[in-house]
């Protein structure tokens, strides 16, 4: 079967440092996959290569049957990969609603002239975008905050807004970089349910970076473990939990 995402021998070097080394990874349709590993293992760097922020030194990324490594981030988004950021990157001085609506621009049909003169078509499209954006906000339980500035949201809600914004790009593959970071246990539990629900509802695949092991073991169907830039193990949660290499990577030798 053709995989949705197929990563082959992905490598990136920053000067002398090999941050990610010959990583191989596959994600199928409607899969929920985890990417875990100690701090500085190279997880975010993998995301940055998948989304075109960094160009890999060598290796290949195929998505949906097309080669995507080395192309621009916005082109990758239009091929339906969307992401969130570990260190939240919202459009701070835009409203919550506007943040989500930005993701519709590359899918919109209105021309620049139509925008400047607010053509009937533009008004219609705008109303539709607003309605749709509200639906995504509802999913992330942010619909009552639509008109607030993104910077005024509490931390946990900012993380959820990032997910709503990424969903609005209508991805086939959603990349979440530590979505539960800074959340309390109750918020994390809620988020876990949301992620599961999103995957089922939109029939999309999710690749999840997370340090909260309870969340990872709870939702992921398959897990890749990265340590010092290399995949040291992969498998279903039960296998990963028992794998001595993984325990060693997290706790150090002799643990």
């Amino acid at each position: 079967m053709e995989q949705l995402l197929n990563v082959k021998n992905l490598t990136i070097k920053f000067g002398g440092l090999t941050a990610v080394n010959t990583v191989n990874m596959q994600i199928g349709d409607n899969n929920l996959v985890g990417l875990i590993g100690p701090n500085g293992a190279g997880k975010t760097t993998v995301f940055n290569m998948l989304t075109g922020v960094y160009k890999p030194t060598s290796g290949k990324i195929d998505f949906n049957g097309e080669r995507i490594d080395g192309i621009k981030p916005y082109d990758i988004t239009s091929k339906r990969i969307a992401r969130t950021f570990q260190n939240i990157r919202l459009f701070k001085d835009l409203t919550v609603l506007q943040n989500v609506m930005v993701s519709f621009d590359f899918q919109a049909k209105t021309t620049l002239l139509g925008s400047i003169f607010h053509s009937p078509h533009q008004m219609k499209e705008e109303a539709k975008m607003k309605e749709e954006a509200m639906e995504y906000l509802k999913i992330m339980k942010l619909d009552d905050k639509a008109d607030e500035l993104a910077k005024n949201l509490p931390y946990g809600e900012q993380r959820r807004l990032e997910i709503a914004r990424a969903l609005a790009a209508k991805p086939k593959l959603l990349l979440l970089d530590e979505p539960a970071a800074g959340m309390n246990p109750q918020e994390t539990a809620e988020l876990t349910e949301m992620i599961r629900w999103i995957k089922e509802e939109f029939k999309i695949s999710v690749l999840l970076i997370e340090h909260d092991m309870k969340l990872v073991m709870n939702v992921c169907e398959y897990i890749y473990v990265l340590s010092f830039g290399e995949i040291i193990a992969s498998g279903v949660p039960e296998e990963i939990q028992k794998n001595p290499k993984v325990i060693e990577a997290y706790l150090g030798k002799g643990a």
């Binding site: 989304t51 075109g52 922020v53 621009k72 981030p73 916005y74 988004t77 239009s78 969307a82 992401r83 950021f85 990157r89 919202l90 459009f91 701070k92 001085d93 835009l94 506007q98 609506m101 930005v102 993701s103 519709f104 621009d105 590359f106 899918q107 919109a108 209105t110 620049l112 925008s115 400047i116 003169f117 607010h118 009937p120 533009q122 008004m123 219609k124 499209e125 705008e126 109303a127 539709k128 975008m129 309605e131 749709e132 914004r165 990424a166 790009a169």
Partner: protein, 346 residues
């Protein structure tokens, strides 16, 4: 199926309402213009004041353009006046040397500024922050020196006896048009894309926005407005020279925009109006004030920036609704002082 459902859900009355709103706004604008004409006729608005009003209007148009680039797109350019200069020379050449109609000359000025902006924007908009600022500053000086060395347009002496063509009506119309263009653009998908680039270009890229494309759109459109302002200025002042549009003028525009509030179109109106009128009004004061006019002006600027660091309006806009709400609040305060319900309505 889902698409269709959403289609019918969209209320056609939104479109009708918008056009009614436009009609009302145009009506109000004509009323304001009528009042201005009446004031001129009665001699209340003397020719000197009228000149200041016209100047403010012209500079406002250029400042709108700069606000788009600086306030909404977050690109610090310091060569805005150079595009005004291109527009001024371009249109003055058309009327003076080729006997072209005024409208055509303005269009040529706008196009010249826009084309030049597209040409230099492509390489330099990749630069960020200080680098972009320095580069545009240098560009502005290059334009000045180049024009100083073209004898065809009078070199450093400038162009004189350009026909007077810019009426109050033209300026008024252009201000309204540019205001509407920016306002509409900002309240559209493209406008949100432009602001997302200002907020965080990496996140914008991840959401499918091509930052270079939107920086270019705003730079070209903003510079075109400077070009229009240049054309209007040339046919208002009848004399232009390269030094009129040097870096000091570019800084003036930045001051107007920053003072009014970056990312507020009505802020630019307020900022420009205050800063054009302030030095003029200080002229009428006593000798001491007169001599230290620019000093007072500078002190006022510093004070404003201390007390309102985001500009007078910040990113807020003056809207009819806002004014109505404000009046209501004042009214409520006067009628029932200390009434709890009035407070809850705030």
């Amino acid at each position: 199926m889902e698409e269709q459902m959403k289609d019918t859900a969209f209320d056609k009355s939104v479109i009708v309402k918008t056009y009614i709103k436009y009609a009302i706004i145009i009506g109000v604008l004509f009323a304001i213009y009528g009042i201005a004409l009446l004031l001129i006729q009665r001699g209340i608005l003397d020719s000197y004041t009228l000149r200041v009003v016209k100047t403010a209007g012209i500079f406002m148009i250029a400042a709108f353009g700069l606000n788009l680039i600086l306030g909404y797109t977050g690109q610090l350019t310091m060569g805005h006046a150079a595009f005004m200069s291109i527009g001024a020379y371009g249109s003055a050449i058309m009327t003076q040397k080729f006997n072209m109609p005024y409208g055509v000359s303005l269009l040529v000025g706008i196009l010249a500024a826009a084309i030049l902006a597209a040409l230099i924007g492509y390489p330099i908009l990749r630069l960020k922050g200080d680098y972009l600022a320095i580069c545009t500053l240098g560009f502005g000086e290059i334009v000045k020196v180049v024009i100083q060395n073209i004898d065809y347009v009078g070199g450093a002496r400038g162009m004189t006896s350009i026909p007077v063509k810019t009426s109050l009506m033209t300026i008024f119309f252009c201000v309204a048009l540019c205001f509407a263009i920016i306002k509409n653009l900002i309240h559209s998908s493209k406008g949100r894309a432009i602001m997302s680039v200002r907020e965080d270009d990496i996140a914008a890229e991840a959401m499918g926005i091509n930052p270079t494309k939107y920086k270019m759109i705003s730079f070209v459109l903003g510079s075109a407005m400077a070009g229009l302002a240049g054309g209007l200025y040339a046919h208002f002042n009848t004399f232009i020279d390269p030094v009129t549009f040097n870096y000091a003028k570019s800084f003036d525009f930045i001051t107007y925009v920053v003072l009014g509030g970056m990312g507020s179109v009505s802020g630019t109106v307020v900022g420009t109006a205050i800063l054009v009128f302030l030095p003029e009004s200080l002229r009428g004061l006593s000798e001491v004030f007169k001599e230290n006019r620019m000093l007072i002006y500078a002190i006022m600027l510093v004070a404003l920036m201390i007390f309102r660091p985001n500009g007078i309006l910040g990113t807020k806009e003056i809207t009819v609704k806002g004014i109505a709400n404000w009046c209501k609040r004042i009214y409520a305060k006067i009628t029932h002082k200390g009434d709890k319900t009035a407070k809850a309505g705030e």
